[in-house]
Structures are given as structure tokens and as C-alpha cells.
């Protein structure tokens, strides 16, 4: 008999000692990370978790005074020559969409705290700053729209006419055109951001999701989850010019900043395909293996590549890890333990830090990019999913 199980009596024992039934190796890793495996709940632990969440939401309210600090800073701006001279180099603002909480958490990257929680529509996922940095767009799938948050007022001020069930989107460099993946009708919707109207759509494969523009803006990549392809769409003609088959359930696409490589993650396939954007074919595949973890748990989603293209970071979903990948050799160098069910990620503009959202543990992990270490965990809303950081 090959099957190994933690016997129910062992399990009981652990629960009595306040531990969960998380497999032993995983628990050791969790402890290393400074947290218990509390999300693998036993029935007796549910009430504890509920309390945690209440505390978290209260804390969110208590921290309201922070926007006032912004007003003070704005006042100072008038007097001082430059805010940059006063503010620490790393003071950016990150917006995190909380899929279940129907909120967006605002993180100050100087204090690493949540300064504001904004109520948005139902099921917020894809989120990005407008190019001018004045607004944050967030796809609220269950409301079939994209909401626009005023980044200063920190409240929803407008909506965009996206198609049904928008999830991820991409905007051109000028901030004039927005491309939205509509999972429900196998379509990419094209929006004019200035006039805020629909100007076209492109039929793609089943369940479009990942959206990314090539650095030169000429090609839009759309990944379709059930068709298992990266569609290359010519942005001038809005026609598909190539379809590249990748592994099962492709969810995210990312270009190297010089346009030399396209990386596409396949959540169920468990790989990242490296595509040559000129030849439009898969030239390599990144595979992942974490000792002690079943291979099905490795589900790559979010990808971030440094501007020099030398390092890639890949979120591995329920494997609770971010893989650090050599951008040149495509070898996995390291696995960083983050929170539970890691989804998406974004660098601070100075590329010192990488912030990743952890869907199940309701927090954001901060990775020190140079040291390749997790340095901080920030509690946010319920089931954080997407993240965007304002460019300076």
C-alpha cells in the first residue's frame, strides 16, 4: 500500500495542541515564515479565524486618519520645492483588489500599512493605475463593469463600459486605449479611455484572461484559459495574427521590457512557456518542483520581470511560493515562501520591492528584490487578488 496518511488520531492530537492538520513539512515551512498554518482550519479553529478578520477590519477603520497626512503633505508641497526631497525614496502607494471583500486596500510602501479601504463593486480582480496616475481602474466582474477610483479622493468616481464579466485588462502607453478580457463571451473588448466608449471587439478563444501589450504597443497578447492559447492580436487591425498553444489554463502574460521574450503562465499545466515574440513559437518551458509538495499544487499565475530582464518572479498559487527564475537561463533559482494562494504581483517603481497578493491568507507579502527575501506581511481585505502601484 503506497498511500500514506496522517492518522485521524494524530490529527486529533494536533488539534488539541492548537496545531492544524497541515502536512508536517508544510507546517515547518510556515513556522519558518513566522506564521502557523492557520488557514488549514480544523472546525475548532474557525472561530479564531473569524475573530482575526474582525480585528483586521476594525484596524482598517481605525487607521482612517492617514489621508489627512496626505493633506498635510500637499500643504507642504506648496511650500517646499519638491516633495521628493522630503519623502523617503520608497514612498509609493499600492492598490490591492480584494475579490471577496468587494474592497480595494491602499498600502503605503513607506510605513507598509493599509491607509485606506475603498468600497467597490462585486468581485474586484484586475486593477491598474491610469497612465497619468490620477485614477485606478478595477474590473468588478460580477457587476459587468470596470470602476474608476480617483486616486486622491480614494473613492469610486466613474465606470467604464466593459463587456460582461471583465477580469484583466491592458492599456496602451498613451493611456488612450483599454483592452479588456471578457471571460463570459470569448471576446476582447476595446475601449476608448478618453471618450469612455466601446470602439470594437476581437473574438478569441474560450475564457480570455491574461492581457498584455508588447513593449512597442503593436501586439496585444490575450490568453484563453480553456482554449490554452496565447493569441497575438495586431492592435492596428484588431485581428488575430497568431495563436500559440501553451499548457493548460494560461492565466497571465508578461513581456521582457526589450520585447525579446514573452512569458505565459499555465495554472493547471504547472508551467511557464517562454515564447519568442518574433517567431511566435514556444522556445522553452519553465517547470517547477518544490520538495515535499505535490505537483498539482504548483499552479503558476502572476509573473513579474525586472526591467533588465535578468530576473523573473512567478507566483505559484496554492504552492504558497514565489519562484525566482534566472531571466537568461530560465532556471529556477529559489522558492520564496509567501502567504497562502499567491495570485498576482507588482514591483515598486524603483524595483526594490515586489508586492504579492495572497488570496487565502488575506495578506500581501513584500519581497526585497535584491536580497530575494520576504521582509514583510501586510494584512489586507478578504481574498486579495490584483495589485497596482503608482508610477512616480
Amino acid at each position: 500500500m503506497l498511500m500514506k496518511m496522517i492518522s485521524p488520531t494524530d490529527q486529533m492530537h494536533h488539534e488539541k495542541r492548537g496545531l492544524s492538520e497541515t502536512p508536517i513539512r508544510e507546517r515547518a515551512m510556515n513556522e519558518e515564515r513566522g506564521r502557523t498554518g492557520r488557514d488549514a482550519m480544523s472546525p475548532h479553529q474557525i472561530s479564531d479565524r473569524g475573530r482575526d478578520q474582525r480585528v483586521a477590519s476594525l484596524a482598517g477603520k481605525a487607521r482612517k486618519p492617514f489621508p489627512q497626512r496626505f493633506n498635510v503633505a500637499a500643504g507642504l508641497l506648496a511650500a517646499a520645492l519638491s516633495l521628493a526631497a522630503i519623502a523617503p525614496a520608497s514612498a509609493y502607494v499600492a492598490f490591492v483588489s480584494n475579490e471577496k471583500g468587494n474592497t480595494v486596500s491602499v498600502i503605503d510602501t513607506d510605513s507598509w500599512t493599509v491607509t485606506k479601504t475603498i468600497k467597490v463593486g462585486q468581485r474586484p480582480r484586475g486593477i491598474a493605475f491610469t497612465r497619468d496616475g490620477k485614477f485606478v481602474m478595477v474590473a468588478v466582474g460580477d457587476d459587468d463593469t470596470i470602476q474608476v477610483i480617483d486616486a486622491k479622493k480614494m473613492e469610486v468616481v466613474d465606470t467604464l463600459p466593459s463587456g460582461p464579466d471583465p477580469e484583466l485588462f491592458a492599456q496602451d502607453a498613451q493611456g488612450k486605449t483599454l483592452y479588456v478580457a471578457n471571460e463570459n463571451d470569448n471576446t476582447v473588448t476595446v475601449l476608448d479611455l478618453e471618450k469612455r466608449i466601446r470602439i470594437g471587439d476581437v473574438q478569441v478563444g474560450v475564457e480570455p484572461e491574461g492581457m498584455m501589450l508588447s513593449p512597442d504597443g503593436k501586439i496585444l497578447i490575450c490568453t484563453s484559459e480553456t482554449t490554452n492559447m496565447a493569441h497575438f492580436i495586431d492592435t492596428a487591425t484588431r485581428k488575430i495574427v497568431a495563436n500559440v498553444l501553451v499548457d493548460a489554463r494560461p492565466r497571465y502574460a508578461e513581456f521582457k521590457s526589450d520585447g525579446s521574450e514573452l512569458w505565459v503562465s499555465a495554472e493547471i499545466g504547472g508551467t511557464v512557456s517562454i515564447i519568442d515574440p518574433a517567431k511566435r513559437e514556444v522556445t522553452g518551458k519553465i517547470k517547477f518542483a518544490v520538495p515535499g509538495l505535490r505537483s498539482e499544487a504548483i499552479q503558476p499565475v502572476g509573473i513579474a520581470l525586472t526591467k533588465d530582464g535578468k530576473t523573473g518572479f512567478v507566483a505559484l498559487g496554492p504552492a504558497n511560493r514565489v519562484a525566482v527564475v534566472d531571466g537568461t537561463t530560465h532556471e529556477v533559482k529559489k522558492y520564496l515562501l509567501v502567504g497562502q494562494r499567491v495570485w498576482h504581483m507588482e514591483f515598486t517603481p524603483d524595483e526594490k520591492y515586489l508586492l504579492v497578493t495572497n488570496g487565502v491568507s488575506n495578506d500581501v507579502s513584500v519581497i526585497d528584490v535584491a536580497a530575494q527575501k520576504v521582509i514583510k506581511t501586510i494584512q489586507v481585505g478578504e481574498l486579495p487578488w490584483g495589485i497596482t502601484i503608482a508610477q512616480p
Binding site: 500500500m1 503506497l2 498511500m3 500514506k4 496518511m5 496522517i6 485521524p8 490529527q11 486529533m12 492538520e21 497541515t22 502536512p23 488549514a40 472546525p43 484586475g126 486593477i127 491598474a128 464579466d165 492599456q171 502607453a173 471571460e183 463570459n184 478563444g205 474560450v206 475564457e207 508588447s214 513593449p215 512597442d216 504597443g217 503593436k218 501586439i219 484559459e225 480553456t226 482554449t227 490554452n228 492559447m229 493569441h231 485581428k239 488575430i240 495574427v241 497568431a242 495563436n243 493548460a248 489554463r249 521590457s257 526589450d258 520585447g259 495554472e267 493547471i268 499545466g269 504547472g270 515574440p277 518574433a278 511566435r280 505535490r294 498539482e296 499544487a297 490584483g386 497596482t388 502601484i389
Partner: protein, 402 residues
């Protein structure tokens, strides 16, 4: 998310784009490859106790139709065109003959047939390069002593369903079971699987009872009053137990049990908390989109048989796109080979057990309203795949594929 700055124009990608447009246009002109998939199902639907469980006339085949649409959306990029050939057999009709008619048109046939009919069909098609995809029969023997090399099993087995349920009940510390079994053969087979699961995962069956099917209509105008008197009495004087587990695939009594047991205890198995490959309430892992597409097509939500048929047709589609061909042999080799996996909105990739061609899959536990849990449960470990904690594992198999 997002955020890219234009760094310059890449002339070569433009040239590449022009070149590929030319290639794509050329291939579009060619005739698409036609891939026909057969569906061999039973005429008529079984009677259920609850009218809400009554299967629709297109139960199963609607799932296959949706997967044909999904395959065609992908197929238009690969110049492949999928069609479904639907054939229903009545109980007194020869399924093997119907299968042979289908085999003239297609290399892949979905089968929703009872075990004996399926075996007859498999043996009559032997050596003809036809692959059967069993979407309906849960019998373990079809994957064990009666396994066939030309049958891929998409439906889970009774032992997988029972193990999925048992893992959750044990996790919940409901380890003392009162097992009530119906008097028909399939009820007894499910009870066998439940007994095996109890032994495997450390539950104890404190007592067994049999509910005799004495015939009679499932619905009557004055039935409830009688049932309300019968069920408490039937479950009276049981030893201390945590959960009543019912084995009633025949739909004779299990759904009468919830809220009517003598002791205030939950019901699981064929009523209450039920294990299944899929459930109309399932909406996790992107299933919302699948359910929406299904609703548009069939005006109802997707049930387990629909999903099993959807997965089977998607497997054929996956084989066609991965091998970039409509060649039956190449496609079936891919499905049975080591590289085959498929996504099916169950949170993990599904693959085939190479020793008996059974699809590995999580088991959903639903109460008729919501998904309560999904097995395998955390803590039940396996050195190859945790999905192999469900059902008969490689070292125990009696299957010799031929």
C-alpha cells in the same frame, strides 16, 4: 499588474506579423479537419424521489454539446471542426449494434450505459481502433477485473465517491456511521464501497440496516404523512452514531431520511451530503464561466453527467489540439500517454491512471444547495498524487489492460 512603457519600435516583429498573416490566410483556405464524436446513451431518464433531482431529457448530451462548442472555438484557430453524433438505445435494444453504426462515423464514442452493456460494446469494437469514453458507469469492476484497453473512464468510481465522502466525514470527526442500504444490486455495490472507505480512513460502521424496496410509486398525493411516520421508526434504536450514511442509488428511500431520523443526526451518501464529480452549485475555480455557457445552451445548470460528458469531449478536443491532428490513433495515444492532463474547473489538473485508464479527479461534496467541501481532504497524503487517495490505487488493482 499592467504597467509597461514603450521602449522603441521593433521592426522585426512587424515583418514577422506580415509573414504570419500570409501563412494564416493560406491555412484558412484549406478545408478544416472534421472530427466526429459519438454519444451512445440510454433512451429515457430514471425516476428520482425529489422532483428537483429529475434529470432533463438532454442530461449528459448537453454537456457534450457544450464541449463541442468549446472545442470548435479552439478549433477555428487550428482548422479543426468538431461534431457530435447522438444515438440513444432503448433498454431492449442492442447497444453493440448501435455502437457499430457509430463506429463507422467516428473514432471516439462517449458511452452512458450500464456496466454489462458497456462491456458488450467494448468487446464488439475491439481491434477497430475505436476509443470508448465511459461517462456514466461508476462500477469499480469496469476498472478492475473487467477493465478493457479500449475504454477510458471519465466517470468516477463508486469507491472514489465513497472515499471522497469518507475523508470529509473523518476530517469532521463524524466517525461512527449508521449504514442503511437499499435492496437493489447497485445499492449494495455502493454500500461495499462505503464499507471499504470506512476501513481505509478510520471510520466505524456501528450498525447496518437494509431498506427493502417493496415497490410502489415514488410520489403519491398523500405520501408525506406516511413517510413522516415510517422514517423515525425505521431509524429507531440505533447504537450511538454521528452520521447516517445511506446507499440508495435506486432512489427508493434515502431522500426521505433528512430531518426524519429518530436521532437528530445528519445524513450523507445518497442523500444529504452527496459525493459527485460535479454539482449544479459548483462555481469555484472559474466554473462560473462554464456554468454560464451551459445555462445559455441548456437553460439549466450543469450536473455530474453533463460534466462527465463535457470532460470526455474536451479530452478528445485536447488530444486534437495537442497532436495538431484528427488522426484517431495519434489522439488516443496522446490521451493514454504520460503527457496528457486536462483542466476541468476542479482546482487541479486531471490525468489518467495508466494502469486502468481512470480519470483522476477531485470529488465534490454537495448538499443540494451548496458545495460543502472538495476531497481529497488536506492531510491525506500520497506519494504520487493526492487524487490517488480516492478509489482503488495501483498496488491494489486487479486490472490487466488488454
Amino acid at each position: 499588474m499592467g504597467g509597461h512603457v514603450v521602449l522603441g519600435v521593433l521592426a522585426r516583429s512587424l515583418i514577422g506579423a506580415v509573414g504570419l498573416v500570409a501563412v494564416a490566410t493560406a491555412s484558412r483556405a484549406a478545408e478544416p479537419i472534421d472530427i466526429a464524436i459519438g454519444y451512445l446513451g440510454r433512451a429515457g431518464v430514471p425516476q428520482t424521489l425529489s422532483p428537483l433531482d429529475q434529470p432533463a431529457a438532454d442530461d449528459g448530451v448537453a454537456g457534450a454539446k457544450l464541449a463541442i462548442e468549446d472545442n470548435n472555438t479552439t478549433g477555428k484557430f487550428l482548422n479543426q471542426r468538431f461534431t457530435l453524433v447522438d444515438r440513444r438505445v432503448k433498454d431492449d435494444e442492442d447497444a453493440a449494434q448501435a455502437a457499430n453504426e457509430l463506429a463507422a462515423k467516428t473514432g471516439f464514442i462517449l458511452a452512458d450505459l450500464p456496466a454489462d452493456a458497456l462491456l458488450k460494446v467494448a468487446d464488439s469494437l475491439r481491434g477497430r481502433g475505436i476509443t470508448l469514453l465511459n461517462v456514466g458507469a461508476t462500477d469499480d469492476r469496469l476498472r478492475e477485473q473487467d477493465c478493457r484497453a479500449n475504454v477510458i473512464h471519465v466517470a468516477p468510481t463508486r469507491s472514489m465517491l465513497a472515499d471522497g465522502l469518507a475523508q470529509y466525514l473523518v476530517w469532521k470527526q463524524w466517525k461512527r456511521w449508521l449504514l442503511v442500504t437499499g435492496s437493489h444490486d447497485k445499492d449494495k455495490l455502493f454500500a461495499d464501497a462505503l464499507r471499504r472507505a470506512a476501513t481505509r480512513f478510520g471510520a466505524k460502521i456501528v450498525e447496518e440496516r437494509t431498506f427493502e424496496d417493496t415497490g410502489g410509486a415514488r410520489r403519491t398525493d398523500s405520501g408525506v404523512t406516511l413517510i413522516q411516520r415510517q422514517m423515525p421508526v425505521f431509524t429507531q434504536k440505533a447504537p450511538a452514531y454521528d452520521v447516517l450514511v445511506a446507499a440508495d442509488e435506486s432512489e427508493v428511500f434515502a431522500n426521505y431520511l433528512p430531518y426524519r431520523t429518530w436521532d437528530a443526526r445528519p445524513v450523507a451518501g445518497s442523500a444529504g451530503l452527496r459525493p459527485a464529480s460535479w454539482d449544479p452549485a459548483q462555481d469555484q475555480w472559474g466554473a462560473t464561466q462554464l456554468q454560464n455557457r451551459f445555462m445559455k445552451l441548456a437553460s439549466r445548470r450543469m450536473d455530474a453527467l453533463d460534466m462527465q460528458a463535457w470532460m470526455a469531449v474536451r479530452m478528445v478536443g485536447e488530444a486534437a489540439s495537442r497532436t495538431n491532428s484528427g488522426d484517431t490513433k495519434a489522439m488516443s495515444d496522446y490521451l493514454k500517454g504520460p503527457n496528457f492532463t486536462i483542466a476541468a474547473f476542479k482546482g487541479t489538473r486531471l490525468s489518467l491512471r495508466d494502469w486502468n485508464l481512470q480519470l483522476r479527479q477531485p470529488i465534490l461534496l454537495a448538499d443540494g444547495r451548496m458545495i460543502v467541501s472538495v476531497s481529497p481532504q488536506e492531510g491525506f497524503l500520497h506519494q504520487v498524487s493526492e487524487l490517488d487517495t480516492l478509489g482503488v490505487d495501483r498496488p491494489e488493482t486487479k486490472c490487466k489492460l488488454q
